[in-house]
């Protein structure tokens, strides 16, 4: 009896340990494969030149630029909207009211929607509804300017997808602002709004930045939302206006590995592109983690 119990115990330790180390193994394997396959291609020239010879050579510069503008426009829209929502949620509604509950429910639901659904929503709402109607009103008959995939609609779709990340992060930061500081401000004759602008927001700035960075890192890693809303297979020039299509890193990996004429020949490019994408998301995530750590440490003082 005793011996069998001991054996079971040892078995459980072994099993749980294997699972845990298995995860490390997977990470090492994935990273190792990507680095091994991609590091040879990672040159300055690769990062700064456009694809050439039917995308079998050259670099990924347009995809980097496209990704940059995608997340930039996304942040310009998403961070303010998310911040305002978080301020409203934490400062203006009673926590147990049905308004607060329904907003929270909506935010959580938004966070749980598969990203491809966002892509379809973007296509249906932004392009076919908003865009087509804009064209009907503002552009000469028969021309498509806004009623087609472009960087603006892709960015807005991505902003919707990343909104919950911003809201949660900002709300946490806003709540961490000590009650004493708000009271001090109000007792000096400041209105609630003045207190939010002058005390609450400046003291939540790291939370807002963290939210922005997490959103960017999430956005940079998603392909599905931009599939139908603006990403292009190949473009001979960089996007110059909001109604242009764009190339993007994640999408570039996807098309190179599934749509290209010779997948074998471009394996190096694929690995290197993936490596760039990974490094970008890691760097963003680590800076978000560091900012959050710094913020917590500061708020404890």
């Amino acid at each position: 009896m005793k011996a069998s119990k001991k054996a079971t115990g040892a078995g459980i330790v072994l099993l749980t340990g294997l699972c845990a180390f298995g995860i490390i193994g997977v990470v090492v394997f994935v990273m190792g494969t990507i680095i091994a396959g991609g590091h040879g291609m990672m040159t300055w020239k690769f990062l700064t030149s456009a694809p050439a010879q039917g995308m079998t050579a050259g670099g990924i510069f347009p995809a980097i630029v496209g990704t940059f503008f995608l997340v930039l426009i996304m942040s310009i829209v998403g961070v303010p909207v998310g911040t305002i929502t978080a301020i409203y949620l934490s400062e203006y509604v009673r926590q147990d009211s049905w308004i607060a509950k329904s907003i929270r429910f909506a935010v959580n639901t938004l966070a749980g929607i598969p990203s491809i659904v966002f892509g379809l929503f973007g296509l249906g709402f932004f392009i076919q509804f908003v865009g087509r109607n804009m064209d009907r009103l503002f552009t000469p008959e028969g021309q498509l300017v806004w009623g087609q995939p472009c960087i603006l609609w892709a960015s807005l779709t991505m902003a919707l997808l990343t909104l919950p990340v911003v809201i949660v992060s900002v709300e946490e930061a806003v709540r961490a602002v000590p009650k004493e500081l708000r009271e001090a401000s109000l007792a000096l004759g400041a209105t609630k709004w003045e207190t939010i602008i002058r005390i609450v927001l400046p003291n939540s700035i790291t939370g807002i930045l963290t939210g922005g960075i997490l959103a960017v890192s999430r956005g940079a890693g998603e392909v599905a939302p931009i599939l139908f809303t603006g990403a292009a297979y190949f473009l001979p020039h960089l996007p110059t206006k909001l109604s242009d299509q764009f190339m993007e890193l994640g999408y570039h990996v996807y098309i190179m590995s599934t749509q290209s004429t010779n997948v074998e020949e471009t394996a190096g490019i694929q690995y290197a592109t993936t490596l760039v994408l990974l490094l970008l998301t890691f760097a963003l995530n680590f800076s978000a983690i560091y900012l959050r750590y710094w913020m917590r440490k500061r708020s404890l003082q």
């Binding site: 000590p178 009271e183 401000s185 109000l186 004759g189 400041a190």
Partner: protein, 256 residues
């Protein structure tokens, strides 16, 4: 001792207050005189801080508070619907138990209130900052570090900075909620000295746990117990010949 004809500034009539279903104040009626120091004493949870916070409507921030009775300041009912709380709070400043300077420079802390009021000229702000820091006896200690963070000051200095910050909006009344309870004896003495000089210009209401402090700084003392005002009189009377046994027991330390 103040003369009897000193004007009454704050008048509370039959004030009761509930936090949800819990009654925190019962039928409190009292008058507070101009340019005097009035101390509220009593054991923890007796309602003295709650009563103090009625005068600048800080209780408004707590959900589920219900108030009956009336509080008037200079004849104005401060709980009437049309009252501007912001104006009230400019007139009635507050110092909190835990010093709460903003994580800004010493200068910006004092300039906060005036800036909110729309004062922008640097020379005007400079003058206000210097005047208030001098009034709160902090100027000599911080004049060379006006642009350093206020969080680098000692606890006592921070509390005097909070007093300077409150003075900068030119209040007429100062509410102090146990302003020295977190300070060492030396810093406490400085705050008490400050209260003594400030009362020539301001009406001061102070909540304190410290009997000696109440007897040292105040002209009038009110003893609260279980949400009721038990006894209220001139401080020397309260401390030497209180009318009620309960007051005497508390003051002499037999309970509480």
């Amino acid at each position: 001792m103040e003369d009897e004809i000193s004007k009454i500034v704050i008048r509370a009539a039959a004030v009761s207050l509930w936090y949800g279903a819990k009654r925190a104040l019962s039928d409190v009626t009292m008058e507070i005189r101009e340019k005097c120091v009035t101390a509220f004493i009593g054991p923890s949870g007796c309602g003295k801080s709650t009563f103090l916070r009625l005068f600048n409507r800080m209780n408004d921030l707590i959900e589920g508070v219900r108030i009956t009775g009336s509080v008037t300041i200079d004849g104005t009912d401060i709980y009437r619907d049309s009252l501007d709380v912001v104006d009230l709070r400019r007139k009635v400043g507050m110092i909190f138990q835990k010093s709460n300077p903003f994580p800004k420079s010493v200068y910006e802390n004092v300039a906060y209130g005036p800036r909110i009021q729309g004062i922008k000229r640097k020379s005007d702000l400079d003058a206000i900052v210097e005047r208030c820091l001098r009034q709160s006896a902090l100027w000599d200690e911080v004049k060379d570090g006006l642009y350093h963070s206020a969080l680098g000051l000692s606890g006592g200095q921070q509390q005097r900075l909070c007093i300077a910050r409150a003075l900068a909006v030119k209040p007429e009344i100062l509410l102090m909620d146990e302003p020295a309870s977190a300070l060492d004896p030396l810093s406490t003495a400085k705050i008490e000295e400050l209260i003594y000089t400030l009362k020539t210009d301001y009406t001061i209401v102070i909540v304190t746990h410290n009997m000696q402090q109440a007897s040292r700084v105040s002209d009038y003392t009110a003893f609260f117990y279980m949400g009721e005002l038990v006894e209220y009189d001139k401080t020397p009377v309260m401390f030497t010949s209180p009318k009620l046994k309960r007051t005497e027991d508390y003051i002499t330390g037999r309970f509480g």
